[in-house]
């Protein structure tokens, strides 16, 4: 049994079958990549993990709890953090505040009127957040407003925001989309460091370079269906994958 188990998930949008009987098993401590051509259903699948969409049939079980019909904030409280394709951060707040907020969420739960104590006195959370910012090389900018950061910096900030919660499962939706090569490499290095600390990750990506340098296992999605699942080396040689994904081109 993996930490995240997806069984026979189907999802239709009108006449379009976005997910067709998807099964996945994601093991603790691994980096699992989901790849596939555009429109294969990758994002739809991810949205089914976080409470944004509910599958028509099937089950999604995380750590013994079904994730169906649970709102996003509760899923996060169970230990699932998510990184978006376009970084979602608190643009009006400072970097430090950006990282402290998830730390408070982890400590205090989804709602607490903590209106009488000063943030300045919360040294424990503050230190946690600073350490996290140092880990992603943003400590020097901790007092800047996050909205002004470059895209690569925003991505690293978002990762820090997720990691400060010590998630059991980290979901990444095309973490290097729209990034320059240098930023992409930095991000890959960062994710490798994260993976080396034993964080379970599910990565959706179509940059092969990213996928093959990170993933322990790869699932290939095409037209809403998982057509192959294996370790990267096997996937590379799988003719079905080349057929579906690359139209036969050589990897």
């Amino acid at each position: 049994m993996g930490i995240l188990t997806v069984n026979n998930v189907n999802k239709r949008f009108g006449g379009l079958k976005a997910l067709d009987d998807v099964n996945l098993d994601i093991h603790e401590g691994t980096v699992h990549a989901i790849i596939g051509p555009n429109g294969a259903g990758k994002s739809t699948l991810l949205n089914c993990f976080v409470g944004k969409l509910e599958p028509d049939t099937g089950s999604v079980v995380f750590d013994g709890t079904s994730l169906l019909g649970i709102p996003p904030h509760k899923i996060n409280q169970l230990g699932v953090s998510r990184v978006f394709q376009t970084p979602e951060i608190f643009g009006d707040l400072t970097l430090l505040e950006n990282v402290m907020i998830p730390a408070f969420a982890k400590r205090d739960g989804s709602f607490k009127v903590n209106g009488w104590s000063a943030v300045a006195n919360q040294s424990e959370v503050r230190d946690q957040a600073m350490v996290m910012l140092e880990d992603v090389n943003l400590a020097s900018k901790s007092k800047e407003t996050a909205g002004h950061l470059s895209r690569g910096d925003k991505r690293r900030l978002e990762l820090a925001m997720c990691l400060v919660q010590k998630p059991k499962l980290l979901l990444l939706d095309e973490p290097t989309a729209g990034m320059a090569r240098a930023d992409t490499n930095n991000t890959i290095d960062l994710m490798k460091t994260i993976a080396s600390k034993g964080v379970t990750m599910v990565v959706i990506e179509h940059d092969m370079h990213v996928v093959f340098s990170l993933a322990d296992r790869i699932s290939v999605l095409a037209q809403g269906h998982v057509i192959a699942e294996d370790i990267p080396d096997k996937i590379k040689g799988d003719p079905r994958v080349q057929e579906a994904y690359l139209g036969g081109a050589h990897l």
Partner: protein
């Protein structure tokens, strides 16, 4: 760290604030605003705006119905006077609680939606309360006449403690001190200081940070494990309680309540106070409330004669022309000034007066101190 658990700069701000408020009668004397009636209004609307700012300034939810809570607070206070006691303390406690209770209901429903939908929902509720106060609820609100004290009021607590006001209609009094004139002002001023302190604590707390996060990015909040709606509701209720308290104080200083306090133009006024001063800043709303009430008072008192005197240095024909042009904006025309001010602020200074001060400070700094300003302005927290 100190006993109030405020940072050094906040402590200084608070102390300056307290001194400024308490010495208000002296400081404002030269501006012609040193009399108690006006000072009371400064304090009361300062409280109203501080509360509104906790909702609008921090969470970004623009309520167009907060005057409803002000009105509810006034009605509650007058009823407390009638039924229980002329002592202002039970009156303001009930006013705050009832204001809070109303805001729980209205907030719970309105916060199901956000953005402009939220604004319209709050507006709808406020208009509903206003219309009801004028019609079916007349037994409670006394309709157009407004709710007033009467000699036949039971005043149960006063009777129980053997206080008899005789045949006169008493003003509210705090254990013998009448809540009119300066005592009335100092009563309101004390509450203003308490409210300011509360708001300061909220601004600097993790809760305040969450409220700013609500304004910044609700989607990220949800995926960070935070439930945004209760946060917004909490802010809404706090601001509703502040509004109820302000309404109660209006009744304390003048024991009478009318439905016109709930009209949506009144809701618009508190929005203007907040943005004029600077929404999301600590001091801004108080300054904005003071400025609006000050100008309202000064401007609406102007008349033709005063204007002619003011322009007496001009040649006669010009004097009359200037006087008739200016008279559009003063006296009865005060609302025109208010509307124009509204537009000017939103167009040119959306950050309000506090933003203006900061810019001026920045400019002075640039002239005096050279290059170090940019980093400073960027790290400046919302205050």
């Amino acid at each position: 760290m100190n006993i109030l658990s405020l940072s050094r700069s906040d402590l200084i701000t608070l102390i300056c604030f307290i001194i400024a408020v308490l010495s208000g009668p002296v400081i404002l004397e030269p501006f012609g605003a040193g009399y108690p009636d006006l000072l009371q209004k400064f304090a009361i609307f300062g409280i109203f705006a501080i509360g509104f700012n906790i909702l609008f300034g921090l969470t970004g939810y623009l309520s167009f119905g907060h005057a409803a809570f002000l009105g509810v607070g006034s009605y509650t206070a007058v009823w407390t006077f009638k039924l229980l006691s002329m002592n202002p303390i039970p009156a303001i406690i009930f006013a705050t609680l009832v204001g809070g209770a109303f805001s729980v209901i209205i907030g719970y429903i309105s916060l199901r939606r956000s953005g402009i939908y939220f604004s319209i929902l709050t507006l709808a509720f406020a208009q509903m309360s206003y219309n009801l106060a004028y019609s079916v609820l007349t037994p409670i609100t006394n309709g157009e006449t407004g709710l007033q004290l009467a000699q036949s009021d039971p005043r149960a607590l006063d009777v129980a403690f053997g206080r008899d006001y005789g045949a006169v209609l008493p003003p509210s009094d705090l254990f013998g001190i009448e809540m009119t004139g300066y005592p009335g002002f100092y009563f309101c001023a004390t509450l203003l200081i308490i409210c300011f302190f509360i708001s300061m604590r909220i601004f600097r707390s993790p809760f305040g940070m969450m409220l700013r996060a609500v304004k910044s990015n609700q989607n990220r909040m949800n995926y960070t494990g935070l439930n945004t709606r209760p946060y917004a509701l909490a802010a809404f209720v706090i601001s509703g309680m502040f509004a109820g308290l302000a309404g109660g104080l209006l009744a304390v200083t003048d024991p009478l309540a009318g439905a016109e306090r709930m009209q949506w133009t009144a809701s618009g006024e508190v929005v203007l106070m907040t943005i004029l001063g600077g929404s999301g800043t600590l001091l801004g709303p108080v300054i904005g409330a003071g400025a609006i009430k000050y100008f309202e008072n000064i401007f609406s008192a102007f008349n033709e004669t005063i204007l002619l005197n003011a322009y007496s240095f001009l040649p006669e024909s010009l004097q009359h022309m200037m006087a008739s042009v200016s008279s559009l904006f003063v006296g009865e025309g005060w609302h025109l000034t208010l509307g124009a001010l509204f537009m000017l602020i939103v167009i040119f200074l959306p950050g309000g007066l506090m933003e203006g001060f900061r810019r001026i400070k920045g400019m002075i700094g640039r002239i005096g101190g050279g290059g170090d300003v940019s980093s400073k302005s960027e790290t400046a927290p919302a205050e």
